[in-house]
């Protein structure tokens, strides 16, 4: 395929190849983070899953800076009547061998999934965030955690956060809307004066893509990989 006439998109099969290349490079050079895993996502669970269908997953990335004051009161919704009935029955909750911990630092985590989006034929970054006990975080709280430079990225044309059903998990996740991706991916590669072969483009596709979208979350890829 002639890269000059390429429209910036990928086929599902190319996505899988690109995904594995990306995961490999990430693991070898990006020691600060755990590796990406490939999880299958069969469209028809009762059939034998074809190889292509799956997504990259990177989970439980801590996104918050340790903050002593943050202690959101989860139990504010429970009325005091409940508390009394519970206490009276609970003689053996604690014994002398149980350590009682006083301070609970509330940390926030983020899961990232790179899924192939067949409408725009590009990778799409899905994410969700939650507290250490699993309680999901709404978007406005997530945005507070994002690094300051990310808010500039958010207002630029290619990062718009929407909420949609995760294609494999079938419940709402946030995603960076992919409608501009093909455009700027094409620009990224065409601005390179050397005329690369498509195989090379494919190998670097997800890496280049992630170096842009990852900035929204302050996930930087070390420069070593970009060579």
């Amino acid at each position: 395929m002639d890269v000059l006439h390429w429209d910036g998109t990928l086929s599902a099969k190319d996505f899988r190849i690109g995904a594995f290349a990306f995961a490999q490079k990430w693991e070898s050079c990006n020691l600060a983070f755990p590796p990406w895993s490939w999880l299958p996502c069969p469209k028809h669970p009762w059939l034998a899953p074809p190889e292509e269908e799956g997504y990259l997953s990177l989970e439980k990335i801590c996104i918050s800076r340790p903050n002593e004051e943050e202690d959101i009161d989860q139990i504010s919704q429970i009325d005091t009547g409940e508390e009394e009935t519970c206490c009276s029955r609970n003689e053996d909750v604690l014994d002398d061998a149980t350590l009682v911990q006083s301070n609970h630092h509330e940390l926030h985590y983020c899961d990232f999934h790179i899924v192939y989006g067949s409408t725009f034929r590009v990778p799409v970054l899905y994410f969700c965030a939650y507290c250490s006990d699993g309680r999901p975080l709404p978007l406005d709280e997530i945005e507070k955690e994002l690094p300051a430079c990310a808010s500039k990225e958010l207002s630029k044309k290619w990062t718009f956060i929407t909420q949609e059903e995760h294609p494999c998990l079938k419940r709402p996740w946030y995603k960076l809307h992919p409608c501009g991706t093909a455009e700027w991916m094409k620009l990224l590669f065409l601005s390179d004066t050397a005329n690369p072969k498509f195989e090379v483009v494919l190998e670097l596709y997800l890496l280049s893509w992630f170096s842009v979208v990852g900035q929204v979350f302050g996930l930087r890829i070390s420069l070593k990989i970009s060579n």
Partner: protein, 711 residues
Amino acid sequence: MAKQGSGSILQFAPLQSSVDEGFWHRLSSLKLNKFGIDDSPIPISGFYAPCSHPQVSNHLTLLAESLPSDSNDESTMPPVIRGNRNRCSVPGILYNTNTMEGFHALYKQGLLKAEAMKIWEDIHSGKAVEDCAVLSRVLLISFADLKKWNFHYWFAFPALALDPSATLVDLRPASQWFTLEEAESVSAACNEWRNSSVTADVPFFLVSIDSDSHAAVKHLKDLEACQRDGQKLLFAFYDPCHLPNNPGWPLRNFLALISARWNLKTVRFLCYRENRGFADLNLSLVGEALITVQQGWREQQCVPNAVGWELNKGRKVPRCINLAKSMDPTRLAISAADLNLKLMRWRALPSLNLEILFSLKCLLLGAGTLGCQVARMLMAWGVRKITLLDNGRVAMSNPLRQSLYTLDDCLNGGDFKATAAVRSLQRIFPAVEAEGIVMAIPMPGHPVSSQEEKSVLEDCKRLNDLIDSHDVIFLLTDTRESRWLPTLLFANSNKITITAALGFDSFLVMRHGPGPFNSIPNLKAETENSLAAGMDNLALTNTDGQHRLGCYFCNDVVAPTDSTSNRTLDQQCTVTRPGLAPIASALAVELLVGILHHPNGIFAEAEIANSSSGGNFELPLGILPHQIRGSLPHFQQMTLLGHSSNSCTACCSTVVSEYRKRGMQFILQAINHPTYLEDVTGLTELMRSANSFQLDWDDDIEVADDECVEL
């Protein structure tokens, strides 16, 4: 780092729970689709892994996979996950009640004892040695409120309590206990154990070190062999806790096993912890515990006490999580609709003012072909507050052309259109604030008897109140005269009025100009927020009629009269080509959005579309015309401009000031006396002078019939 003083009670850091949102989704699905009101206990699997961060403990996690599948297959057990080094399975059980009272009524101590009993039995039967994963268990009680999407829950991690408690002799980082050689060998052996899919998720094991400082990792069942060789022996386990001075919870049941099964008094243990996937002997701890002989512990019948209910921020209360945002279909629909509009703003129309659309209150007079379509288009633009007024019932022919009705609305004589329309809108988008009003609009030319007068006056008043409480009115009725009173009332209050009218194969969509009593505001000082500007400037001096855009009646030389009596059959049924209503309705709403985004709002000048202006608009939504007239036979559309008339029966200054002076009496007079309006506005005079004018050429020239176009 010197460690805990010997002789102090060994204190374990409790396990902490973490529930992935997917678990609650799966539970809800199981409850709704499979279990119904059956509240038998559900087998579940928890997952944990050794600590992987020096400052953060790992939690015991529940995921969607912790529950049995919600598909239609037979399995009632959660899927078995083996060989995953980050997911050591913990067998468990869930008691999910059907009511809040049921949740509180659960006998927690009994449930905890029952789970502890299972561990105790596994210890005595030897199963815990074969499959050590059963040494840890998880008990969860919950109440899923599937109306409000609140999940109340409480975890327990059953631990057999030693009585008296074990004491701690020593506890220090593993790197300080092993020699350098030993440490290297232990790390290597543990990493191998962790990397093999056969043993990666086996959380309890033995570490034996021979005299050559060579370490080997063994299964628990190899204990006797290790003891015989007389080597250094440590009881190791995956420790989720990160604390430097305390071992994690799984050690409790491990010690119970060691004491009950092998009767050891001194136990050297290794809290195995990792960093970045590899054994970390600085974070890992080696300790020595002293266990006093437990009374009767070798007997299976004597079950020790159990502890393990999780505290909630130090308090003995359950936890609660609300997931309405991601599970309540109405909330999801609202958020999807919002995002759709925001996406439009982001990608195509940055100046789109969504706040105005969300807060706008629209009144639709008529819930027929035009009313149904306009309502739908308004919702598509994000308008949420819609009132429909119609006094008719849904007829059998309506569902085909009136897009909010179905056959069900026609049965038993037919529901009132206004109510059926509201129901339909709510089915499409539950968050709509729709109201239906069954009422007839008083019309000139339809005289009322004195008995009816009172109710007609009430209707007029009600119409007036409706107009006061809305920002925009759409005139979508099927007669000309029914549009008169609303036009007058809106001209009086200067609110946005949009008319759509259908002929057989042509349509008219127009926006009424402002009423006669206002001063054209200082356009530069006008902020975008004031739509109904000019209300404050109620000077009685009317503006120059020529600058004000006209209303629906401005071009008429006859007053509205009774157009419904003495009509032919085809005139009685409003017969139009089906394509017209959707086109006209869509244009009417787009015209409204244009007005809302024009800085002058209702006072905006009219623009006309012409070929030279193609693509280059001052405003992002394009031009804002006064009237759009379309013709289906030509597939053509024109934009026109019409100024207000000083003799308009609905909006000229004479009429509006008469209304202001005499109110309902004026209205009644107009309704009951067909020529009254023409007299008042001077139209009568105009007609008389036109008729008296002698036209000489009347006799000589034949005017062909088909050149006369009837308005």
